[in-house]
Symmetry: none
Subunit: 403 residues, 2 copies
């Protein structure tokens, strides 16, 4: 596990340029006992060349056997300890919804639910109402105002929304209001520490207003809140690594995590990999470090669509010359976790990692980029949080420790 205090002591302000290219959920599995994985199946002449020249390995985002969500997995890729820095569901939802949440804010996940005439919950998910049904209700909730704070409400999906409170002296140590069973009333928001009393009072006021606004909107005639929390106050990439860092991502969640790490988030749209790479090229001279996030490898893995996931990998490979033409000193191609189409879900399998740094890498004997090649790679298996120290070392951006 990387020691960020040590890295911070050793990091220099000059050195090579680093690209961290993350294909979300990159790692896969064969669909049949004798088959190949998605990455092994994909035709990736550029990555295979980089694999022959550089070195491979497999990373563990948290530790062996632990399947990470995207939040902790990215914290680990960025060098943070994802277990020591828990990020609440509310904060992850806020990041996912693209709300530019700050360390002083408090976020919670909300559910629309159904209550009876006595205020007891009869359906914790309000009949799983559709996005279309939920959208106007969220608009109603957005009209609630409480003096002294700013309130942001966004629809997450179906019956789920996210609430973010901004203001002075807030504290996210609140208990869930969701009793997790039907037949009970939602709990009034309660502080878990004295410092959170003010925030609890604000939340109670907001929930009362929400109950009033929604009272005729059955089945969605009430709300519950859970996963209260505040974003971790992370030391930034500038602080730790002395890197001027930029993020190129299409999904809000990844932009949000990058922002927490102090990266500049460069403007994008619903871009192809090639278009994302072009953003890097357009800003090449402004930054030392680029984090590029490719979403659809994970999406197709979660769909269980093996050929479509392999096709996304091929699309990335085909666009890779845009990055290679920039002559990065260090190029790392990896995932944040594995999402085998066979499992249709995130998994705990080691994440394929390719490190290419022509002036400093120690080549291994790997011939192509694929899960089984990484198993004999020169990087071995390692905690994902060691990847940034490796990137820094290969960019000659770390001084020697001791004499």
């Amino acid at each position: 596990m990387a020691n960020l205090n040590l890295i911070k002591q050793l990091a220099t302000a000059s050195g090579g340029k680093i690209i961290l290219l993350v294909m979300d959920g990159l790692g896969g599995m064969p669909m049949t006992p004798d088959g190949l994985t998605e990455l092994e199946t994909a035709n990736t002449p550029n990555m295979d060349r980089l694999a022959r020249e550089g070195c491979l390995g497999g990373s563990h985002p948290i530790s062996r056997g632990i399947t990470p969500g995207s939040g902790p997995a990215h914290l680990s890729l960025f060098g943070y300890d994802p277990v020591a820095i828990p990020v609440g569901r509310g904060v992850l939802s806020a990041l996912g919804a693209g709300i530019p949440i700050k360390a002083a804010d408090v976020a919670a996940r909300g559910n629309f639910c159904t209550v009876d005439a006595d205020g007891l919950i009869t359906d914790r998910r309000a009949g799983r109402i559709s996005n279309e049904a939920a959208a106007p209700l969220v608009e109603k909730l957005r009209t609630i105002q409480i003096p002294g704070v700013n309130l942001e409400v966004r629809l997450e999906q179906e019956y789920r929304f996210v609430l973010v409170i901004s203001g002075e002296g807030l504290n996210g140590n609140l208990a869930d209001t969701d009793p997790q069973v039907t037949g009970k009333a939602p709990y009034p928001a309660a502080a878990l520490v004295p410092e959170a009393e003010k925030t609890a009072a604000i939340v109670r006021q907001w929930v009362d207003a929400a109950a009033d606004i929604l009272k005729n909107d059955a089945p969605a005639n009430m709300v519950t809140l859970r996963g209260f929390g505040q974003p971790p106050d992370l030391p930034t990439f500038q602080d730790i690594y002395h890197l001027k860092a930029a993020c190129v991502a299409v999904y809000p969640m990844y932009k949000g995590v990058a922002r927490l790490a102090g990266m500049d988030v460069l403007p994008t749209g619903n871009f192809t990999p090639g278009q994302e790479f072009q953003v890097v090229a357009d800003h090449w001279n402004e930054y030392d470090f680029f984090f590029i996030h490719i979403k659809y490898t994970d999406s197709r893995g979660e769909d269980g669509n093996f050929p479509a996931k392999a096709a996304v990998i091929e699309q990335v490979d085909e666009a890779l010359p845009i990055l290679l033409n920039l002559n990065p000193d260090v190029l790392i191609i990896t995932g944040d976790h594995s999402t085998p189409a066979r499992l249709r879900a995130h998994s705990w399998h080691p994440v394929p990692t390719l490190l290419w740094a022509p002036a400093t890498h120690l080549p291994d004997t790997c011939q192509s980029f694929g899960e089984r090649e990484t198993q004999r790679g020169g990087l071995s298996q390692f905690p994902a949080s060691d990847l940034m120290p490796l990137a820094m070392a290969h960019a000659l951006r770390l001084n020697k420790y001791g004499a």
Copy 2:
């Protein structure tokens, strides 16, 4: 990371004999993309046979991506935690200068500098005076006496010297006197904790005497001191491993680190590897453990002289039968860190490690001793501080943990 308390509980007083042969800076890199490393290039029939019979791996002296100095790297090889046990610059310089520094002593690095008539520094390095010019000045400094303490001064190189103070109740928590800029006077030595007041007063007295002695020796008419510290009070090899341990090294620094670990330092001169091995043979019956240090692999790596580094490795291989004829139970051949000739510097790359213990090793499929063979070795990659527990285990010197 080795748990020394656990090892200490499990270590037995009997078992096999262990040789730890350290070629400083052993790990290398190819000079060209398709080339071999120094170790892969060297003709090493003896090591290759041991590699076929035993098992290989790669060690990380500190953690992935961190380039160590020789001090921390050797602490790690000896099983200590090199980050938890910081060793100050002054102590490393004292060890390097061959001063037999003890845990109660305080050491500092000194610079000769130039001050003007107002005592302000005009050159922090006294015009980088030569060894020849500095030697008589160091002799002058050696005449300074302060009641109650012993003082040792040695030239390190050019304008750099080392000061060691021995006596009762000393404390090394002192601020640097070097202001790090010109135009300021050197700071008077200042205690960082109340317990260091006495030491600070001694240092101020010494600096005043030095200023007086040097006043007509411009450009070297003053001194600054930095990196004050005391040697770590390490548990010894006898304490932890129950090993009677000896060191065979040519350079003072490595003898010093071995002495800190409680090893006997056997007499040597400017010896070849074969001559160093003969010292082991001469003392074979007196010790359980021998640490042998070969310096010139690192020196030639730092020179960027690839063929000369490979030649040192060949010299070691050629002399290896002297050690093999002793029938050691465990022979480990490794480095303290990598020093690729290509980088002309220490590096972070995993350190090639060969473990040969004919009665206890589990052979792997490696066919020769080289970086890329180690990548598929049976030892995998591991923290260098795990090497001593492995050595102890293979010598059948560790009891079972629990029932």
